[in-house]
């Protein structure tokens, strides 16, 4: 019996090639999209779960309360990790790491290692990174010990054994020993580095005494708790610990930290402290929903096309019943056919997924997977999903088909029921609702991206080439040399540039009551030329000037946000007020108009700018767009003569700033792609339905044409119904999309509106696509000779 079913199934597929193609294609595309998104979501959820102790690892983060504000800092004070273990026996290990960029030299080979971590010696005890060579307990124990990843080690040592070899750190004064080689850190790890340097290098040499600096914040601290320890209970005991250890200092500086424990596995998706650098659980949800939607659309297609075709199968059903088939046997046959279709789609989508994976990796900006076949469990899930779709999508058509009365169908007195038509219309409406909502969402995302790119940032980011000297002693000489090069219009040096990081400083500023108010101010170290070069606007007072010698030590410029934070309503009021920051005291000499020194997702924070040559290491060169390659070549030349020890590198500020939107960019691109897919599948379904409905109305069309209907009358007649469905979808999709996209936009401090034209654009797009799809069939039917269609009766 099975053989018979299979035969009929395949012959049927072959006889109705076009419809089989539409059906299978829709499902294949749906399954492929679903599978790729599923892998993406799985990947996002897999972050940091590879550590054997992942469940016991917690990140310590910290809120800092000053009399003025509360800051959500990410790292706690440097003294926490060295001291916390003594007070809490439930803590098995406490480690710190901090990011650094170090110049590493081995003979003539030199690299600026931007992904360097100084890490405490228990790093390999807490985390599960695999050490290929070296003893995990001791590799990071002694100062000037280095662990390299396999890839990094190859750069310096090729095939020779790196263990025990020496490299030179920074400007060559620090010979260091390679003590270990580790596997490259996996993509789905929030801790990423090419090189680890023992923390003792910092604590015993570069930065002695930092172990006891309770007021120095900003490192990453992780705890490995003993099995069975409640993180919540531990967290509750931390305020007392801080009070006991550091209470006096907290009171003195009016800085009150609160510590929180974040489970390691939640850090990537759920922690809000790393800005857009990490993942976002909302995006994961959105993608999951999109995946399910696309799958739904594909299923609806399937149900739709199959039930639409039931008229054709009716005769077969009738005959089978007459010769003895039971309802159950027939239902089983049709569900079986539906499963076969789904299995074909499954095989195709596995092939497609494998082929599209590299593209998808590129689109999502990271290697989700190298090979889909390395995830047999995922493939099994896709397989089961396909079978489930086959069964679910097959049930309705199977019931409809198997309940046909042989008397009616064999006599040709057969008409599709109103109920079936309603269901099909409902499914089409759902498909188009989803599609239109996705179009609207895509436009909103792109609109917002565009807005962020074109928004006046309050400074000029064009034609700015940035050189990072890493604080090299020849930095000033280099800048002077660069400023004389043809093609370089102006130069300046600063500690930070917009889009990059900047320190936060413990500060006191005279407020409206004449008190010195304590606050944590974001701080930019700059030089005299920085503000004019960046075309930042001074709205009160003056910019730094060489005419005032005291500007180097006693002058501060604040932004409007800072001015408001200290209670002033007009910028003029704060001019001349006193400040005390990191050992410098003086006066506020100017107020700069708020500029976006971080992404537009964040509100502009209170900022202070000071002249501090020692804190500056970034040279900004305004370059002429003419002869850019030769300008860059001459800058490189200057670099090579002045700082020969460091490898030359540069970046452009506009690109650098826009990098902050990488994840939104990816989000937008992925969204666009999947919206197109959803529309595509929906149109396939519409195409199938339209051609069936025209086929069923062949006789009607013939009669109408004989009665004098024109081609356009007929096209109109056939398209009208479908266009009405699209309109209904639009009415449903509009408010839904409006609601959700408004929510999404609320993640941005500076955002566009969801304006009416977006809906009009989305509606017209959907309508046009639908019209194109339907009219193709309608025109074909309308121009046909009525004699043929009438004769067939």
């Amino acid at each position: 019996m099975l053989k018979n079913y299979l035969k009929v199934a395949f012959r049927n597929l072959w006889r109705h090639r076009i419809f089989s193609f539409i059906n299978i294609m829709g499902l294949t595309v749906g399954l492929t999209a679903f599978f790729l998104i599923f892998m993406y979501v799985k990947f996002e959820l897999s972050y940091d779960s590879f550590h054997p102790n992942a469940d016991r690892i917690y990140r310590v983060v910290c809120d800092l309360k000053t009399p003025t504000e509360t800051i959500n800092a990410d790292g706690p004070s440097w003294a926490i990790a060295p001291h916390i273990k003594n007070d809490f026996p439930e803590i098995e290990s406490a480690i710190r790491y901090t990011n650094a960029s170090l110049l590493v030299r081995k003979g003539d080979i030199k690299f600026q290692e931007d992904n360097t971590l100084f890490a405490d010696s228990a790093f390999f005890h807490v985390f599960g990174f695999k050490l290929l060579k070296g003893n995990p307990a001791t590799v990071l124990k002694d100062k000037f010990s280095i662990v390299l990843t396999e890839t990094a080690a190859k750069k310096y040592f090729g095939k020779t054994n790196p263990i025990g070899q020496t490299v030179l750190l920074t400007d060559g004064n620090f010979p260091s020993t390679i003590t270990g080689i580790m596997e490259d850190m996996p993509e789905n790890s929030i801790v990423k580095a090419d090189m680890l340097v023992s923390m003792t290098t910092l604590t015993e040499d570069f930065n002695k005494g930092i172990d006891d600096q309770w007021g120095n914040y900003g490192n990453r601290t992780y705890l490995l708790l003993k099995p069975g320890t409640s993180a919540k209970a531990l967290q509750a005991k931390l305020p007392a610990f801080l009070e006991k250890r550091n209470g006096d200092e907290m009171k003195k500086f009016q800085m009150y930290p609160t510590l929180f424990l974040e489970p390691l596995r939640d850090v990537y998706l759920r922690s809000t402290r790393d800005g857009s650098k990490t993942g976002n659980i909302t995006n994961v949800y959105i993608f999951s929903i999109v995946a399910v939607f696309i799958l739904l659309i594909a299923c609806f297609n399937f149900v739709n096309l199959t039930t639409a075709r039931s008229t054709e199968r009716a005769k077969e059903v009738g005959i089978r019943k007459v010769v003895g088939a039971g309802k159950f046997q027939l239902a089983r046959q049709f569900i079986g056919e539906s499963i076969i279709l789904c299995l074909i789609a499954f095989i195709l989508s596995v092939i497609f997924s494998a082929l599209l994976l590299p593209l998808f990796n590129q689109l999502s900006g990271k290697i989700i997977s190298h090979n889909i076949f390395s995830h047999p469990a995922y493939l099994l899930l896709l397989f089961l999903t396909s079978i489930a779709i086959g069964i679910l999508a097959g049930i309705y058509p199977a019931l409809v088909l198997s309940s046909f009365q042989p008397v009616t169908v064999l006599k040709g007195r057969f008409a599709t029921g109103v109920k079936g038509i309603l269901l099909r219309k409902g499914l089409v409406v759902t498909q188009f609702t989803i599609s239109i909502a996705l179009i609207i969402a895509t436009i909103v995302v792109y609109n917002q991206m565009n807005f962020m790119r074109s928004q006046d940032l309050g400074f000029n980011k064009d034609q700015k080439l940035i050189l990072d000297t890493h604080g090299d002693s020849s930095k000033t000489a280099l800048m002077q040399k660069v400023s004389t090069l043809p093609g370089v219009l102006s130069t300046s040096m600063s500690g930070s540039v917009p889009g990059g990081g900047n320190p936060g400083a413990y500060s006191q500023v005279e407020n409206t009551k004449g008190e010195m108010q304590i606050a944590n101010l974001d701080l930019y170290f700059v030089d005299y030329d920085y503000i004019p070069q960046y075309k930042m606007k001074i709205i009160a007072g003056r910019a730094f000037s060489r005419d005032f010698g005291s500007d180097t030590t006693q002058a501060m410029i604040v932004n409007e946000a800072a001015m408001k934070m200290f209670g002033y309503t007009t910028p003029q009021q704060i001019i001349g007020k006193k400040f005390d920051q990191w050992g410098r005291k003086g006066m506020i000499i100017g107020v700069v108009k708020d500029f976006h020194f971080r992404s537009l997702q964040e509100v502009i924070k209170p900022l202070s700018l000071r002249i501090e040559p020692n804190g500056c290491s970034l040279i900004t060169a305004n370059v002429s767009p003419k002869n850019l390659p030769s300008t860059i070549a001459s800058i490189e030349n200057a670099w090579k003569t002045m700082i020969p020890n460091r490898p030359f590198s540069y970046y452009f500020l506009d690109e650098f700033f826009d990098k902050q939107y990488r994840s939104e960019d990816r989000f937008g691109r992925l969204f666009l792609n999947f919206a197109v897919l959803a529309i595509f599948i929906s149109c396939l379904g519409l195409l199938g339905l339209a051609s069936y409905s025209t086929m069923q109305r062949t006789k009607e069309i013939g009669v109408r044409k004989v009665m004098g209907a024109s081609v356009s009358n007929i096209v109109n007649l056939l398209s009208k119904d479908f266009l009405r469905l699209v309109l209904i979808s639009f009415v449903i999709a509009g408010p839904l999309a409006w609601y959700f996209m408004n929510k999404w936009l609320h993640g941005f401090a500076y955002r566009t509106n969801v304006s009416w034209w977006i809906f009009v654009a989305a509606g017209i797009t959907a309508l046009l696509i639908a019209l194109l799809t339907v009219s193709f069939q309608a025109i074909k039917a309308a121009v046909a000779n009525p004699v043929n269609s009438l004769r067939s009766e």
Binding site: N4, V8, R15, E316, V322, V323, G324, Q329, P406, K411
Partner: protein, 225 residues
């Protein structure tokens, strides 16, 4: 074999009520070959559908092999049908996606006959209707007469006690029609009961008895032998 009394079938739409069978009485004995004739709309096809257990009557009694089947549900009717009744239609009603062999095999599949057995029986019956050489062709590749012979083969492959033929020659030219009628006669001579609806007096002459219907009732019965 068949005993029908006071059988009624009424088709209702919102506005019109059509009486298809009006207290019809009729009897068919084992081994008989009966032709049912009458003008369009007299209820012949309705009668045939009820006889074939494809449709159920609204009132009256239908004894099939001394069993009252008038109120059987669909499953029971299907069960009785597949073991006892074969159908031949005017428009052949073969499944286009199946070959000649597979079409004839179908009833055996649904009655659960084993594969090897099926092959033997299908080949035997194809031989009988002289269509063995076309066994791997599809219906569209055959002439109308050949298609109807396949349909007859399918109707008898299960050795039914009763064959119901609904204008079996209606779509055939006279020589093909005669062939099919010859075939039915042979089957009847081998013991199969046949009830045939027809418009053709010529075809009706192959039967033993002609039942003439008008407005849902039998009006005359001519016994031909």
């Amino acid at each position: 074999m068949i005993k029908i009394s006071q059988l009624e079938k009424i088709y209702r739409t919102e506005e019109v009520e059509t009486i298809a069978l009006n207290k019809l009485n009729m009897e068919v004995n084992d081994g008989e070959f009966v032709a049912v004739m009458g003008p369009s709309g007299c209820g012949k096809s309705t009668l045939l559908n009820i006889l074939g257990l494809l449709d159920d009557p609204d009132a009256g009694s239908f004894m099939f092999n001394n069993i009252e089947v008038a109120h059987f549900n669909e499953r029971k009717r299907a069960d009785l049908r597949k073991h006892n009744i074969g159908f031949v239609f005017q428009s052949f009603n073969l499944i286009d996606e199946l070959t000649v062999f597979e079409n004839v095999e179908l009833p055996l599949i649904y009655t659960g006959v084993k594969s090897a057995d099926r092959k033997k029986r299908v080949e035997a019956v194809l031989d009988k209707v002289q269509i063995m050489h076309r066994r791997n062709h599809y219906p569209q590749q055959l002439s109308g007469g050949q298609q109807q012979r396949v349909a007859v083969a399918r109707a008898v492959v299960n050795n039914p006690k009763l064959i119901l033929a609904d204008e079996p020659t209606g779509n055939l030219d006279s020589s093909n029609g005669n062939e099919v009628m010859q075939l039915l006669t042979e089957l009847n001579e081998q013991g199969t009961t046949i009830v045939m609806v027809t418009h053709s007096e010529h075809d009706a002459r192959y039967s033993h008895r002609i039942i003439r219907m008008l407005d849902g009732q039998t009006v005359t019965q001519n016994i031909l032998i």
